[in-house]
């Protein structure tokens, strides 16, 4: 099952999804098993990308890791402890718009601190710091609808990272951005991440994005009953520039190898969508 160097399991992985299955039941429709017997382990400080064809249940897997969705079978462990309810150690960066539209950028960034009862002056100071870090100094008074898509993503990034979560879950966070903004954001993400390495699960359907960001890439099979079909260690040197690293021979070699595994699944996923 593992195509590259097998992951050596430390005593307590930051996050472990063990034999997860998710079956949705909806009235009048047949049961749909989105994920079947999927196991995914993330070491502390590791950046793992999960790639797979559209509709393969990548987001479902992430929602299970976040505790937003209870798996039908299997267990989630956070630092060795079984997860019940929401994953309090995780921050979640959503694919679609998730900012509170009635709060300014600044107030969106402080939201998590406010929920946790952090004193207002302290929250304000930290929010200013984070707005600056994501390049939005002086835009704190703007409402989400007054910001561009890229700026909204930065606010969302600051909103999640200000809470200093041990695990960061990202669900195709940059998929709605144009390619230039996207590469810019990817570089910024890497910079923020390398400052204090957290464990990351990064969901994407873009293999290049996955390779250029990650320590490890996990390929999921096409749904239904999606499960990991390959794991690849990415041994590209850091720090990386996501635009430049795509030109290196090692990147192309890795890309070719992973694509071999992924290709059939993508075609399968495409056929299924066409026949629906």
């Amino acid at each position: 099952m593992q195509a590259a160097a097998p992951a050596k399991a430390p005593a307590h992985p930051a996050l472990a999804l063990e034999h997860i299955s998710v079956t949705f039941i909806s009235e009048g429709a047949a049961r749909y098993t989105a994920i079947k017997d999927a196991t995914l382990v993330v070491r502390p400080g590791e950046f793992v990308s999960v790639v797979g064809p559209t509709g393969c249940g990548k987001s479902t897997l992430l929602n299970v890791a976040a505790g937003l969705l209870a798996p039908s079978a299997g267990a989630v462990r956070v630092s060795g402890m079984p997860l019940a309810g929401l994953n309090r150690k995780a921050g979640y960066l959503f694919q679609s718009e998730a900012l509170l539209p009635w709060r300014t950028a600044h107030d969106n960034v402080t939201a998590g601190l406010e929920f946790r009862g952090v004193e207002e002056g302290e929250a304000k100071r930290r929010a200013e710091d984070w707005l600056q870090r994501v390049g939005l100094r002086g835009h704190g008074h703007r409402y989400p609808h007054q910001l561009s898509g890229g700026m909204r993503k930065r606010v969302a990034l600051a909103q999640t990272l200000i809470l200093d979560p041990e695990i960061i879950l990202m669900d195709e966070p940059f998929s709605a951005l144009d390619i230039q903004t996207r590469q810019l954001m990817e570089n910024e993400l890497l910079e923020l991440w390398s400052a204090n390495r957290k464990s990351v699960i990064f969901i994407t359907h873009d293999l290049e994005e996955a390779i250029s960001l990650s320590d490890r890439v996990v390929v999921l099979s096409a749904g239904p009953e999606s499960h990991p079909i390959g794991e690849f260690e990415i041994d590209l040197p850091r720090p990386r520039d996501v635009a430049e690293i795509r030109m290196t021979p090692r990147f192309i070699e890795l890309h070719t190898r992973i694509w071999q595994t992924m290709k059939d699944e993508v075609l399968k996923g495409y056929e299924q969508q066409k026949n629906q």
Partner: protein, 272 residues
């Protein structure tokens, strides 16, 4: 600059139209300006439709003598009370039912029944229950306002974006914080969308209530004048009511702009 000029000339045309309407009204109802075309008696047009100069004179007399103020005060107080009580109760019940599906399922048929009932017929009953003073008019206004706000809040809470909700939960919001920071702001945007309607209906409730039985208020003035076939005073009352309805609507617009800055307005291009 250009749009400003257009809106200025638009305003001018609007005023001209009003003036033309009054001029037409004046000419058509004046006993000696036109020969009677439809009526056999030159005074009949004035009897049925009133005369604008007489109407304006009546309004002038009301305001210069100050006799209208007590009636206006009563009507506006009834409107304000009906609006506030209706909105607050609609908000509370809407939030409660939207967040507890069991209660919503239980009350559903009753809410539908009460909402589809023509509630104006309750006015006489309220008169019996609460007397002929302000309370019965407020009660009528509340029944009208409540349902508008209620349905909007109910809808608003159910249409909260799942992603926004999940995000707030992941950021650590407790159930109470979700209510305060997600559900209520989201519901409020729907309440504001219906604010023009609910203020208007609170006003309708007050005036209709007065009209059906009262001793004070603008509706009462109109009722009195109708009793003596004093069409000029009836029209004067209607004009005063219209002017105040417009003023209320305008106030709502201002409040809305103040509180809803976070909402994009159509055509707004304040991106960077």
């Amino acid at each position: 600059m250009n749009s400003k000029r257009i809106s200025k000339s638009l305003r001018l045309w609007q005023v001209l139209m009003l003036a033309a309407l009054f001029a037409f009204w004046h000419v058509a109802t004046h006993p000696s300006l036109l020969p009677p075309i439809y009526f056999d008696n030159p005074n009949k047009a004035a009897f049925f439709f009133g005369q604008p100069l007489e109407v304006l004179g009546r309004i002038w007399a009301w305001f210069s003598s100050g006799s209208i103020y007590v009636h206006l005060w009563v009507t506006l107080m009834e409107t304000a009370l009906a609006f506030v009580i209706g909105t607050v109760s609609g908000l509370a019940v809407g939030l409660w039912l939207a967040l507890s599906p069991t209660a919503a399922a239980l009350f559903d048929p009753y809410i539908k029944a009460v909402n589809s009932m023509p509630r104006v017929i309750l006015a006489p009953i309220f008169g019996v229950w609460f007397g002929l003073g302000m309370a019965s008019k407020v009660a009528l206004g509340v029944t009208l306002v409540f349902f508008i706000v209620f349905f909007n809040v109910y809808q608003g809470v159910r249409e909260v974006s799942h992603t926004v909700l999940a995000n707030a939960r992941m950021l650590g919001a407790s159930d109470r914080q979700l209510l305060r920071h997600v559900y209520i702001p989201s519901a409020m945007s729907w309440v504001f969308a219906s604010l023009h309607n609910s203020v208007g209906l609170a006003f309708v409730g007050a005036v209709v209530g007065e009209y059906l039985g009262s001793s004070e208020g603008v509706g009462y003035l109109i009722l009195q004048a109708e009793g003596t076939f004093d069409i000029d005073t009836v029209f004067a009352g209607i004009l005063v009511l219209t002017a105040f309805a417009l003023a209320l609507d305008w106030t709502v617009t201002i409040v809305e702009r103040r509180l809803m800055v976070w909402q994009p307005r159509s055509g707004e291009t304040e991106r960077i």
